[in-house]
């Protein structure tokens, strides 16, 4: 199946990626060719097959409710581009 430019725009919006018109065309074409590769899966019947989300037979991995030390604030924020008053700064939201 081929992806339309509108579909590429929709996906880019969901993934928060701003693309140029040229990039949209490129990704439409490339993603379509990859989706084409996926079509062979349609030929494989999987009725009654349980999806495998975890390869390990692990269950109930839980820890005790114990509070430990947090990061010093300087370290927690050291990598941030913009901060103010010990908080991360972001441009207006709406």
């Amino acid at each position: 199946m081929a992806l339309t430019i509108e579909e590429v725009e929709h996906v880019a919006r969901l993934a928060r990626l701003s693309l140029t018109a040229q990039e949209k065309e490129m990704y439409a074409e490339q993603l379509s060719s990859i989706l084409h590769l996926f079509e062979m899966l349609d030929l494989l019947p999987t009725d009654g097959v349980e999806p495998l989300a975890h390869v390990l037979p692990l269950f109930n991995v839980i820890r005790a409710d114990e509070a430990g030390p947090s990061l010093p604030r300087d370290e927690a924020m050291a990598n941030a581009a913009l901060t103010e008053d010990g908080q991360f700064k972001v441009p207006k939201i709406i």
Binding site: R16, Q30, T46, L56, L71
Partner: protein, 486 residues
């Protein structure tokens, strides 16, 4: 013979016998890096000063044994406290983690001397290290060729003698494929055997940390240091960790080896096939029972992987938004724009492609056709292996469909590039262990031999790999990087 040419095992013994000091060993590696790094370009960040300090501290404490005092490199998607960890992405060009990955922490506590962070395909997405956001790495066997990927820097640095071993990660073949291209040993352990904590996630259900070394014994030595349960990783296995070097020389008499016919079919170079077939005769000579077998769902592994891995990646990479760390477009007028332009500029094209692909596969209306379907096929692929391991102790195949290709040769052809991983991907989907070792040479380029085993069969794999290595001596061949007088 110079110090850097020794193996981990040898240099460890020399250090233990006090024939050399940690600083002398480091100096040899540093000198080697100084001589060849401009050709190889394996490192994103060198930490020779910190390494010098570590070596001095080890000497002061008189710490010897294990990996103590032996220089190594770390793939740049494993977090290193206080040392920038970039994932070869402009997005994380200046990111300095305040924590060590568990596997890194374990190496450090074993006395490892970390000399730098190694190049890779951006966020481990790629098979040639051409997708590095910074620069490509060159294959020590032929500098015009790629070292493979995504752990291309790690494999090249080990092959070129810049480090004794490297810590890397494998999602769909990212350790084994570059090990194969560079003629070194690369192991992807059983999913859950090495902690993923601090490994920047690409596809969480597939990612595993493992070693790249020059010999099988060295691989076992590094495995001894990094394996074992970690309470910081909920998918970490609570199993006793054996000494992987113990009985490694035991031999493989009576070992039942299967070779899956699907791994020798179309898409695999004739020369590669022939080389591995030859290798199988060697295994027979060594006393193993070798038979053809089948993993019938193998051909579905590639599409399955390219649905699951990008889907998980689309979610794992959502956190790179410019708020708490990483690149940020400071000129954006509002948060939505800031997110979108930060991500579009911070990520390279392959990352954007896979994030888009994964977002699409998970999106409303497509989830069942793609993601859920892929999880079902994943079970079928795993069951193929389960059945095969009822009959065989291990399976053997080529690691890659070809030897190393030229830089730029396949960059334009996306699908061909993706197909390169078709022999390593099924193992990743099944979560089982696998090791790639030099299996022969074609036109002076290494050919990788892949050994696959059931969950937690690392000892068996290492034993078989060791027997083959010792019988062939392929590990003794090294690339010639310095022609006298140049």
């Amino acid at each position: 013979m110079e110090l850097y040419q020794h193996t981990v095992q040898e240099i460890g013994e020399m250090l233990a016998r006090r024939e050399v000091t940690a600083r002398e060993v480091l100096a040899s590696s540093a000198e080697r890096i100084g001589r060849v790094e401009n050709k190889i370009q394996a490192f994103i960040t060198l930490t020779l000063e910190e390494a010098e300090k570590t070596a001095r501290d080890l000497e002061a404490r008189d710490e010897i044994g294990g990996l103590a005092g032996i220089p190594c490199g770390i793939k740049d998607n494993l977090c290193t406290r206080g040392v920038r960890t970039t994932c070869a992405s402009e997005m994380l060009e200046n990111f300095v983690p305040p924590y060590d990955a568990t596997a890194v922490k374990r190496l450090k506590s074993a006395g490892a001397v970390v000399v730098g962070k190694l190049n890779m395909d951006e966020f481990a997405m790629g098979s040639s290290t051409e997708n590095s956001g910074f620069f490509p790495t060159h294959n020590p066997w032929d500098l015009t060729r790629v070292p493979g990927g995504s752990s291309g820097g790690a494999a090249a640095a080990v092959a070129a003698g810049e480090v004794y071993y490297a810590l890397a990660s494998d999602t769909g073949g990212s350790i084994r494929q570059p090990a194969s291209f560079c003629g070194v040993v690369g192991m992807k352990p059983t999913y859950g055997l090495v902690s993923r904590f601090g490994l920047v996630a690409f596809a969480s259900s597939l990612d595993q940390v493992g070693p790249i070394t020059r010999t099988v014994t060295d691989c076992a030595l590094v495995m001894n240091a990094i394996c074992g349960h970690d309470s910081m990783d909920s998918t970490s296995l609570k199993v006793p960790v054996p000494d992987y070097t113990k009985d490694i020389q035991e031999g493989i008499k009576g070992l039942r080896i299967g070779f899956p016919r699907e791994y020798f079919q179309k898409g695999v170079d004739r020369g590669v096939k022939d080389t591995i077939m030859e290798a199988l005769f060697k295994f027979e000579e060594l006393g193993a029972v070798v038979e053809e077998t089948s993993l019938p769902h193998s051909e579905y592994a590639l599409p399955t992987y390219y649905i699951i891995a990008p889907s998980e990646a689309s979610s794992n990479l959502a956190r790179f938004d410019g708020v708490r760390y990483g690149y940020r477009d400071r000129y954006a007028q509002d948060t939505a724009e800031m997110f979108s332009s930060t991500r579009a500029r911070g990520f390279g094209p392959e990352v954007i492609r896979r994030v888009m692909l994964g977002t699409y596969a998970l999106s409303s209306g497509y989830y069942e056709a793609y993601y859920l379907k892929a999880l079902k096929v994943r079970r079928l692929i795993k069951e193929d292996f389960d059945r095969a391991f009822e009959q065989y102790d291990i399976l053997i195949s080529p690691t890659t469909t070809s030897t190393a290709f030229r830089i730029g040769e396949k960059a334009e052809d996306l699908l061909t590039m993706y197909m390169l991983d078709m022999l390593t991907i099924p193992v990743s989907l099944a979560g089982i262990p696998s090791i790639s070792i030099p299996g022969g040479f074609l036109n002076n380029l290494p050919v990788g031999l892949q050994l696959m085993g059931p969950p937690l069969s690392e000892r068996t794999l290492l034993k078989a790999a060791y027997a083959f290595e010792q019988a062939t001596g392929y590990h003794l061949r090294t690339p010639v990087l310095e022609v006298y007088g140049t």
